[in-house]
């Protein structure tokens, strides 16, 4: 599989503080990668650089386009982003207007706009929210609408920047099932989060600290480095912490986040 994002020797400073120094990262097409790190590790800055919100002369290629002023419009057509400050991302009066706005800017016909909004609302179970104003939505509902706005034009890459923390557990599971089906249909997903549980679905977990990659691998393999994660102030999910300690005491051999299966293994 070829690389859809190629960051080569990125260096970036802000207010005399070095955020990245010769940072490199390759993300393959159709890969689902979760990026974790404590506050100030550089996660959101990376996203702002990739989306062109922060100008940078480094060698970055996205969807075969070199990231620069000339190509930014083409690159952005292929990316959907859900930013962390969701409050600030709504421009229109109603949810339906918000979804239509994106498609109008991509020159969709009125008929295609209506059909696309209809299909997506059913998929995400948000039909009942279409006529609501954004200030009438709860925190969790805003997250879901922001995600809908990011995927409505079916981008190649979806980036979620710490936006899912306010959704309840059931909604999150539903949302991740939808993301899973988008991923199976070929979407590359980059999820920035504090919650390591969100990496359970992903192919790869990257731990960032002060602009450096500290750990990079399959999620459950990375999570076994509990002492490093602790030092980096990253919280292990309760069930993973439990597995690591059970493994240490020789009660289980492998990490398994399924509590029912864990109980059966310990008392077989």
């Amino acid at each position: 599989m070829k690389n859809i994002i190629d960051v080569d020797n990125l260096s970036f400073s802000y207010k005399n503080k070095k955020i990245f120094d010769k940072f490199s990262l390759k993300i393959k097409e159709k890969e689902w990668i979760t990026i974790c790190g404590k506050n100030g590790s550089g996660k959101s800055t990376l996203i702002k650089i990739l989306s062109g919100l922060i100008n940078n002369d480094s060698n970055i290629t996205i969807c075969d386009y070199k990231l620069n002023e000339k190509n930014i419009y083409e690159i952005r057509k292929n990316i959907g982003i859900v930013f962390d400050k969701i409050e600030n991302s709504f421009l229109c009066e109603t949810v339906e207007d918000e979804l239509a706005f994106i498609l109008e800017n991509l020159s969709y016909s009125k008929m295609k706009i209506n059909k696309t909004i209809n299909d997506l609302s059913k998929k995400l179970n948000i039909t009942h929210l279409l006529n609501k104003e954004s200030n009438q939505l709860s925190g969790g509902e805003k997250c879901i609408i922001a995600l809908a706005c990011a995927i409505i034009h079916n981008p190649k890459i979806l980036i979620i920047d710490e936006s899912l923390s306010m959704i309840d557990v059931e909604e999150k599971n539903n949302l991740f099932n939808i993301l899973d089906s988008l991923h199976k249909n070929g979407m590359t997903i980059i999820n920035i989060t504090h919650d390591l549980r969100e990496s359970y679905y992903s192919d790869r977990l990257l731990i960032l600290n002060e602009g450096e990659i500290m750990l990079d691998g399959k999620p459950f393999d990375v999570m076994q480095y509990d002492k490093i994660l602790n030092r980096l102030k990253i919280e292990l999910p309760v069930e993973i912490d439990l597995c690591i300690k059970l493994k240490l005491y020789g009660l289980i051999n492998e990490i398994n986040p399924n509590i029912k299966e864990l109980v059966n293994i310990i008392w077989q």
């Binding site: 506050n39 557990v169 059931e170 439990l242 109980v263």
Partner: protein, 265 residues
């Protein structure tokens, strides 16, 4: 009794036929930590806003025991701390309430100590702070006027692990050492489970279930029918009891649970 909801109804838009809060009745006692859970849009934040007097019931009433001035006796830490800041400087922000309530400024140092912030932070601008520091400044701005009831709306969002542990210690101290009543809205049930005494579940603006935390989670029918998430540690204990017929002592941390598992393997 600290707070009593009497047949409270509320809707944001009077022309709307649907109520956000629907005949809500509850009595909350003094000096307890309450968790308030429910799906997105169920009315959790609205309940906090009603208690704080930011909004008033459309129908019904809310009674408070020994509270003459809601603004002074109830503190509310918002989901996004930036939304409650008036000033840009930390010292001015924390002192804001003291100025408004005509209280002494000597409480500043004490309150910084309680939330674990150093005095140097007083000279900083709010936009220079990390998420965790902003959260602690918001808490300090509320604690400084010594309210009886303190409410948190999703306090763990954006917090790293160390700040979360600090927050847990702080909330326990608010109840045990400072005799506060604390109400916390959170989706993070594993965090809530470590600190709460009682749990309140709300659905479509109605009270679904309210009980002491272990009794709450013994309501298997309600838990299953309404898909209420169970804290992972308690789920483990329940499965061990149900499937293996072994009753483990209740734990709230992984370390305690491991000791229990080892005793019973």
């Amino acid at each position: 009794m600290a707070i009593k909801f009497n047949n409270v109804f509320f809707k944001y838009d009077i022309d709307n036929k649907d109520y956000t809060i629907n005949n809500f009745n509850i009595e909350l006692e003094d000096n307890k930590i309450y968790g308030l859970i429910g799906k997105s849009g169920s009315g959790k934040t609205t309940i906090l806003e009603l208690i704080d007097g930011l909004i008033l019931p459309t129908k019904g009433s809310i009674d408070f025991d020994n509270i003459s001035n809601i603004k002074k006796e109830i503190g509310f830490i918002f989901q996004f701390p930036e939304e409650q800041f008036f000033e840009n400087n930390v010292k001015k922000e924390i002192s804001f309430a003291l100025k408004n309530f005509d209280m002494s400024f000597d409480k500043l140092s004490k309150v910084l100590k309680i939330v674990g912030l150093k005095e140097e932070i007083l000279n900083k601008k709010l936009d220079e702070l990390s998420n965790g520091e902003r959260r602690m400044v918001a808490i300090a701005s509320v604690l400084v006027y010594n309210p009886k009831i303190i409410m948190f709306d999703e306090p763990t969002i954006g917090l790293d692990y160390n700040n979360k542990k600090k927050l847990i210690r702080l909330i326990k101290a608010l109840k045990d050492r400072y005799n506060k009543t604390v109400i916390i809205v959170s989706h993070d049930i594993d965090f809530l489970y470590q600190i709460i005494d009682k749990l309140i579940a709300i659905e479509n603006g109605k009270l679904l279930c309210y009980d002491e935390k272990y009794k709450f989670y013994n309501n298997d029918k309600i838990i299953k029918e309404h898909n209420i998430p169970i804290p992972k540690i308690l789920l483990f204990e329940k499965l061990v009891e149900k499937d293996k017929n072994i009753k483990l002592l209740h734990s709230t941390t992984v370390n305690d649970l491991i000791k229990e598992v080892y005793r019973n393997v």
